[in-house]
Symmetry: D2
Amino acid sequence: MTARNATAAVIGAGDFIGAAIARKFAREGFSVFAGRRNGDKLAPLVADIEKAGGKVSARSLDARQEADIAAFLHEADRHAPLEVCIFNPGANVNFPLLETTERVFRKVWEMACYGGFLTGREAARLMLPRGKGTILFTGATASLRGGKGYAAFASAKFGLRAVAQSMARELGPQNIHVAHLIIDAGVDTAFVRERIKERGGDPNTLSPDTLMEPESVADAYWYLHSQPRDGWTHELDLRPYGETW
Amino acid sequence: MTARNATAAVIGAGDFIGAAIARKFAREGFSVFAGRRNGDKLAPLVADIEKAGGKVSARSLDARQEADIAAFLHEADRHAPLEVCIFNPGANVNFPLLETTERVFRKVWEMACYGGFLTGREAARLMLPRGKGTILFTGATASLRGGKGYAAFASAKFGLRAVAQSMARELGPQNIHVAHLIIDAGVDTAFVRERIKERGGDPNTLSPDTLMEPESVADAYWYLHSQPRDGWTHELDLRPYGETW
Amino acid sequence: MTARNATAAVIGAGDFIGAAIARKFAREGFSVFAGRRNGDKLAPLVADIEKAGGKVSARSLDARQEADIAAFLHEADRHAPLEVCIFNPGANVNFPLLETTERVFRKVWEMACYGGFLTGREAARLMLPRGKGTILFTGATASLRGGKGYAAFASAKFGLRAVAQSMARELGPQNIHVAHLIIDAGVDTAFVRERIKERGGDPNTLSPDTLMEPESVADAYWYLHSQPRDGWTHELDLRPYGETW
Amino acid sequence: MTARNATAAVIGAGDFIGAAIARKFAREGFSVFAGRRNGDKLAPLVADIEKAGGKVSARSLDARQEADIAAFLHEADRHAPLEVCIFNPGANVNFPLLETTERVFRKVWEMACYGGFLTGREAARLMLPRGKGTILFTGATASLRGGKGYAAFASAKFGLRAVAQSMARELGPQNIHVAHLIIDAGVDTAFVRERIKERGGDPNTLSPDTLMEPESVADAYWYLHSQPRDGWTHELDLRPYGETW
C-alpha cells in the first residue's frame, strides 16, 4: 500500500457498503474519514483498517445537519486534500400512504436527499479550487421507480438522483467527477437478511452470490473514481447475476 | 353549466395554470376550492368564475404546512365531496451550486415536493372511503432532468414525481386516479415573459402558439379527470408545437 | 355527425383498438381509410361505420411493403386531405432467446417498426405541403422494457418509439403533431382473453374495467388529435385502474 | 501477459473503439477473434497485437448475415472457449425524414440492431452449455433519444438496447453477463474529427481529454467483464469530463 496525500470521506459509513468503501479506499492509500450518526459504532471498522496498515479517522455526524457535514469535510480536507467524497446514508422505509407521517417523509428526505445535497455542495467547495475530485452518491431501485409504499423513500432517492445529475453537469467541466450508483438489489446486510426471513425465506440457504457482497459494491465505487477524465460514467446499476428485474 | 355536488380543490392556484384549472373545473360544474399563499390575490379569479355562474371559495394557505393543507381539503370536502385535487405550486429557481443555500434547497422542496405529498395523502384520506377521486400533480422538464443550476428545483420535482408514482400504484386499484403532467415548456406567464426578455428576446413578437396558454394546459387536467377507469393515463407531457426538446 | 373534408387513415385496423379508432374518427366526421393484411376481415367494421352514417374505405395492405403503404395513403389523400394517420399493427410474440429465429426477429421488426417508419414518413410527405396533420403510433409496455423472451417484440417497439420521437422533433415545428401511446396493459381482445385462460384464469369472471375497452383507448387517440397546438402531448400511457405496474 | 484458454470475439472491430477493445482483451491474455466487413483492414491491428505478444485472428464478416456471424463465433469457440463477445458496429447517419430511404432505414437496422441480436443469440448458444460468459453491446446517445434526423439510427440503437435488456434478463440467472454501454459523446475517431471540421471547428486545437480515447472506452468493457457476478452492471454511460449533456 502506497500512502497518498489525499483524503476520502465517507458519509454514512454503515456496517456494510459504507464500511467496505472505507476499507477499499484505505487499502488504496487514502486517508479515510468515516462518519456516521453514532461514531462509536465505527470502532470495528477503524480496527480493521488500521490492522491492514491503513489510515482512518472516525467521527460522529448527523448527515441532516449542514454544520456537521461542513465541519466533517473541512476537517478531512485539512488532514489531506479531499479527493473523494461518498454519500451513502440509507433510509429505506415502506409505509402505506396514509401511515406515512409528515415526520417520516421529512426525515427520510433529510437523510437521503438533503444530506446528499449538502455533502456534494461542501465537497465541491473544497475541491473546486484544486480543480480535482470525485463525488459519488448511492442510489437504489427506488431512485428510478416510485413503488407502492415507497412515497417517502423513492421521493428522497429520486431527489438525490436529480442532485447528482445537476452537480455532474455543473462540476464535470471543472474536472470534478460526479456519479450515481443504482444499487438495484439486496446487499448482504443484516437488514436484508431480516427481510428475507420476514417473507418466509432462509438467508442462510441462499445460493452463492445471490446477495451482493459489500466488497463487490465498493469495487464499483473505486472503478468510478479510477476512470480517466476522457471517459467518465455518470450512472451505473449493480445487481447480482440471479436477480429478477 | 350543470352544478355537481362535488368539489375540486386547487392548491397553488396561481395567476396562470392554477387559475385556468380552477376556471375549467368551475365551468364543468364543480365547486372549486382555490388556495394560494396570499388568498387576497385570488379576488380576480373569484370574480371571473362567479361572473360565469360558477362556484368558488378562495383561501389563503401555506402549502408547506400540514395543518393548512388538511384544513383546506377537509373544509372543501365538507362543502361537497372532494372529487378532484390538484397540486400546482411552482418553485422554479436556478442557482449555481455553491450559491444554493440550504434554506433555498429546503424551501423549494417544501413547496414543490413535501406539500405535494401532504396534499395527495390528505386528499386520499378523504377520497378512499368513497372509493372515488382524481389527484393531479404538475411536473416540469426538471421532473425528468437535473440540469445545471437546478439542484434544488429538479430535486424537488423528481421527488414529486416519485410521490405521484407511488400514490398511483397504491391508490389506482382503489379507484383513485393519480396522474402527473410534465409541462415541458414555457406557459404564457409573466415569469416566462420576463425570462425571455432577460435572454434578449421580445415576448410580444413571439409567433402565435409558441407559449402554452394556461387554458390549453387546463384542458389536459380535465381530460385526465374525464378518462374512464379502464384506461387511465399516469403521465403525459405537454409542450407547444414549435418547442425544441 | 358533421362530415369533414378530411381523411383519417388507420394502418393495422384490427378487430379491437384499430377498429375502435376507425369508428371514433368516422363518428367525428372523418372519411376513414382502414387497412389491414386481409381487407376482407374489415367487412364488419365497414358495416358498423356505414350503419352509423359514417364514411369508410377498406383496403388490404401489407404494412411491411413500402409500395402498399404509399399507395394506401396516397389514395386516402386523393379522397380527401389526409389529416390523421394512425399506425397500429401488433406483433406481440414471446420466445426464449435461442428459439427466436432470424425470421421472427425480422418479421416482427418489419411489422411493428419498419412499417411504422414508412407510414409516418409517407404521411408526413402528404401533410407537410399543407402544414397540418396528426400522426399517432401505438406503443406497448415493451416500448419501455426489454423483458425476458421479448427480444424481438421489445426491440421493434423500442425502435418504433425512437421513430416517433425523431419525427416529432422534426415535424412538430412544421405543425404536424406526432404522438406515441404506451398501451401498458391488456386491452379486451380475443388474444388477451386467450392468454388469461392459458395462465389458468377465467376472462369471463374478471372484475369490471379490468381490461381496457378498445373504445376507451380510441378516445385517447382522439384526445391527442384534438389538442391545440400550443399544448401538444408526445407520449402518454394508458392502463386500467386496477393494473399492477 | 498470461495466456488464457479463452476467446474474446469482437464484431465490428473498427479502427477505433473496436480495435482498442481487441488490444485490451489480447493484453489480458485472451485469444482475440476480430471481425469486420473488410478483414484486410485488420492488418495493422493484427500487427499491433502480435508485436505485443498477443494472439489474434482476423476475419471478414458481414454482421448482417446470420451465417457469417454464426461461422465466425463457432470458429472462435473451436479455437478456445468463447468467454467474451462484443458487438460494436457503428451505423451513425443523419437524414431529414423525407430523405431517409427505406434502404437506409433497413440497412442501418440490419447493421446496428439485427446483427446485434444475431451476435448475442449465437454467443449465448455457445456460452450457455458452459454456464459462463460476457456479452457486451455498444450503445450511443441515440440509444436513449430519438433526435431530429435520427429516425434510422436511433430506431436501430433503441432496438439494440431492448435486445440487450431482454438477453440480460434471460441469461443473467444462467451466469452470462449481458451489458450495454452508452457512449454519449465523441470518441477520438476520424469520423468525429471530420464532423468537428464540418461544424467549423479545428479538432487539432481541442483541449486535452475533450474527445474520448478508444483505450479509455475499452477499459470500461474490460471493467464490465471483470465484475464479480454478485454485482453486475447492465448499463453505464461514458462521456468526457467537459461534455455538455
